[in-house]
């Protein structure tokens, strides 16, 4: 056993350490510091740098000068840029709606009592786990002007006479890239919504059934309102992923034909890196921010409204 010994008066540094240890504010600050450094270093700084570059004429290998809004003024008059904005909005809108509708449908089916339920749930995830570039390459073959399996099948069935020009015709190309994006994005929506569906108490559905609610009414007035918070989060992410899509387009079309599938992200890359105009590339990327903010605000202040979640209307 050790004999008790009276400690001497604490040194000055010891006293400071004691005060520090007892200070909730100081400790809180220290504990938050790593996260703050991470956020500042890896999120705020790159974003700030990107915004700054958009106001400069920086080119590859040459530091730029501040030119104010010149990049944006040029872009206002650039038909290719506006085409890319149009493409991006259409791409995001159509793909997101389709992903939501099909994802919700799939989630509702998978939420039913099905044989081999776990197996089917795993299968549904496959498009999501395949690397985007690989699935894009697969679609590239599917949409090939000469060797498309779809065209080949339809020709064998006698439904068409010559291969479909999937990626050569502007309309077809837009539909094709949207279809590829939807295929890839459905699992994320479906599995997330399935998780949401499983949090809805069965007792609520049973009570509604006892009250004579039809399956549609149960979905409309019980399932959907309960699912809205999850929908808000899932669709926010889905819209963000879709709006900033790059790999799919880059592999399938590189923005062609004649820029009909150029998205803002692909145009930003084309101008900024191979084209060497970092300033203009950054300006295009920054121009995406208002759209992204709008979609986030819509989902958080719109879809998450308590009234909607309680099945009410505006």
């Amino acid at each position: 056993m050790s004999s008790p010994s009276s400690p001497g008066p604490p040194s000055r540094s010891g006293a400071l350490l004691l005060r520090f240890n007892n200070s909730r504010n100081a400790l809180g600050f220290v504990f938050m510091l790593p996260a703050a450094i991470f956020l500042l270093g890896f999120l705020t700084y790159p974003l700030g740098l990107g915004v700054w570059l958009g106001f400069t004429d920086t080119r590859i290998g040459r530091a730029g000068d501040f030119i104010g809004l010149q990049n944006y003024i040029y872009l206002m008059d650039d038909e290719v840029f506006w085409l890319s904005v149009f493409n991006t909005v259409i791409y995001t809108l159509v793909a997101s709606i389709l992903k939501f509708a099909l994802g919700l449908w799939l989630a509702l089916i998978l939420n039913e009592k099905l044989p081999f339920k776990s197996f089917f749930r795993a299968i549904v995830l496959l498009p999501w786990v395949v690397p985007t570039v690989l699935s894009a390459l697969a679609f590239w073959w599917i949409y090939d002007a000469q060797f498309s399996i779809l065209s080949w099948s339809l020709m064998k069935l006698g439904l068409i006479q010559q291969p479909i020009n999937f990626l050569g015709d502007p309309f077809n190309a837009r539909v094709s890239v949207i279809a590829a994006n939807v295929w890839r994005g459905i699992p994320f929506v479906a599995i997330s919504l399935l998780a949401g569906l499983q949090t809805i108490p069965v007792s609520l559905q049973e009570a509604a059934s006892l009250d004579g609610a039809t399956p549609w009414k149960r979905f409309r007035y019980v399932t959907l309102p309960m699912l809205t918070p999850i929908i808000a989060v899932v669709m926010t992410f889905s819209v963000l992923f879709t709006f900033t899509d790059f790999q799919l387009i880059y592999v399938l079309t590189k923005g062609g034909p004649v820029n009909a599938t150029h998205l803002m992200a692909t145009l930003s890359f084309q101008r900024g890196i191979p084209g060497g105009q970092l300033g203009e590339g950054a300006a295009i990327a920054v121009a995406m921010i208002p759209f992204l903010l709008a979609s986030i605000l819509f989902s958080f202040f719109g879809l998450q409204r308590r009234k909607w979640q309680q099945g009410g209307k505006d």
């Binding site: 080119r59 090939d144 060797f147 990626l167 050569g168 034909p257 191979p274």
Partner: protein, 436 residues
């Protein structure tokens, strides 16, 4: 016996010099031979494009190994898909970190000349020793009177066709003018064996094709002083010709990227396209394509109203970034790789895919080893630089990277725009780059 660096460099230069004499037949007057002693502990990293013919990479790596054995300087050779080299080199230049050397494309070096090690002494030496660099290639590597890069090769591009199919279309020989070429393509379409050239965003094949269309009709993106001159009657004539030609193509060429024409040709879907010699080798190594290989021919693009052959061809240059800690080792490496013994081995290994940068190597036996090689032999000699007739630099590189010319032709041939609208749009886009 252990050979030290200094001994090796002196010896290798001697051997290479002797080999050079053998090639040129007479003793050239060359600049004083520079000597580079690699820095102590030097190790290098080179980023190059993934090879199109395996022999190229094998020969390059074998030469590199010889250099390492001789000098003790390790050289790590990384490869990337050729289209990824441009952005990676650009980022390397911008951040000042990454590989010490890059084999880049076209006018990349002119986008960041300040980030590159001056290679004038080495360039001048090689230029003098091996009969001179070809003018077109030299233009890509020089800024003023300085070598900011070393020209490495032109990747030849030739019209590849099926002899039996042009005969079936009523042509005994391949027409060498644009009017005859259009007739041939029409006849081939009528026979169900159409042609196909990339109108999609194909960096290599697309740019080669549209530059030939433009230049063969006398059009040009800019004049000698760098003023945009695309909006001209010659350009309209080129577009109208392209429209007529496009009508004879297999459907879907507006979505073609670089690989599509190879696939379509090898699958027998098209009987005429343009490509590097890699198409021939892809056919040759496939036993099932024996008949196609025997029927395959290659020739230069037809001559248009300008009366002379004018083609872009891809060009590749070696650059050394000035962030390297071992500039002398880089120069020693490049010098070693360009000396006759190594360069000849590499050109031979490349099987006519890479056309020599220096005139002395034109006598390399590879060009006569196979009749299919012949159309690719003059690529370095006949190429016209990107951004003709203006200066190379940021604007010429950016106009190509932004697919201004590719889009112009694609928009017009597909009917998305009238020729006049397409030209006006291209003019506006090009002005954006050239006015800076």
């Amino acid at each position: 016996m252990k050979i030290n660096r200094r001994d090796l460099l002196a010896a290798s230069a001697g051997i290479a010099g002797a080999a050079g004499l053998g090639l040129t037949g007479s003793r050239p007057a060359f600049a004083q031979e520079p000597s580079y002693t690699p820095e102590a502990g030097a190790s290098l990293r080179l980023l190059r494009w993934a090879p199109f013919v395996q022999g190229d990479e094998d020969a390059w790596l074998a030469n590199t190994k010889k250099f390492t054995e001789a000098t003790g300087v390790e050289v790590r050779v990384d490869k990337e898909s050729w289209e990824d080299i441009r952005p990676k080199a650009a980022v390397t230049a911008n951040v000042g970190s990454g590989p010490d050397m890059v084999l880049c494309w076209f006018d990349d070096a002119h986008q960041y000349p300040d980030k590159l090690v001056d290679l004038t002494d080495l360039g001048t030496y090689l230029d003098g020793k091996y009969g001179g660099f070809y003018d077109g290639l030299k233009g890509y590597a020089m800024r003023g009177d300085k070598f900011i890069a070393l020209p490495l090769a032109a990747i030849g591009n030739a019209v590849c066709y099926r002899q039996s199919h042009i005969e079936a279309a009523g042509f005994k020989e391949f027409p060498n003018d644009t009017a005859g070429f259009l007739d041939l393509c029409k006849a081939m379409k009528a026979k169900g064996t159409p042609a196909g050239f990339a109108h999609g965003k194909a960096v290599g094949d697309g740019n080669n094709y549209v530059h030939w269309l433009l230049w063969s009709h006398g059009g040009k993106m800019v004049d000698e002083s760098g003023v945009v001159a695309i909006n001209s009657p010659e350009t309209i004539a080129a577009i109208n010709y392209a429209k007529a030609l496009y009508e004879t193509f297999i459907p879907g060429t507006e979505s073609w990227q670089d690989i599509n024409n190879n696939r379509a040709f090898l699958a027998g879907q098209v009987s005429l396209t343009a490509n590097g010699v890699s198409l021939y080798y892809a056919a040759k190594k496939d036993e099932k394509l024996k008949d196609l290989t025997a029927d395959l021919r290659a020739t230069l693009f037809p001559v248009g109203p300008v009366g002379t052959g004018v083609e872009l061809y891809q060009t590749t240059q070696a650059v050394v970034f000035n962030h390297t800690k071992y500039p002398n080792a880089c120069k020693a490496y490049l010098k070693f790789m360009y000396e006759a013994e190594q360069m000849n081995a590499w050109i031979t290994g490349s099987s006519a895919y890479c056309c020599q940068p220096l005139k002395a190597f034109a006598s390399n036996p590879v060009w006569t080893a196979d009749p299919m090689h012949a159309p690719y032999a003059k690529a370095s000699e006949t190429l016209r630089p990107n951004g003709y007739a203006g200066p190379l630099g940021y604007a010429s590189a950016a106009v190509m990277a932004d697919y201004v010319l590719v889009d112009m032709f694609a928009a017009a041939v597909t009917g998305a725009s009238t020729p006049e609208e397409a030209v006006a749009q291209a003019e506006k886009r090009a002005n954006r780059y050239y006015k800076v």
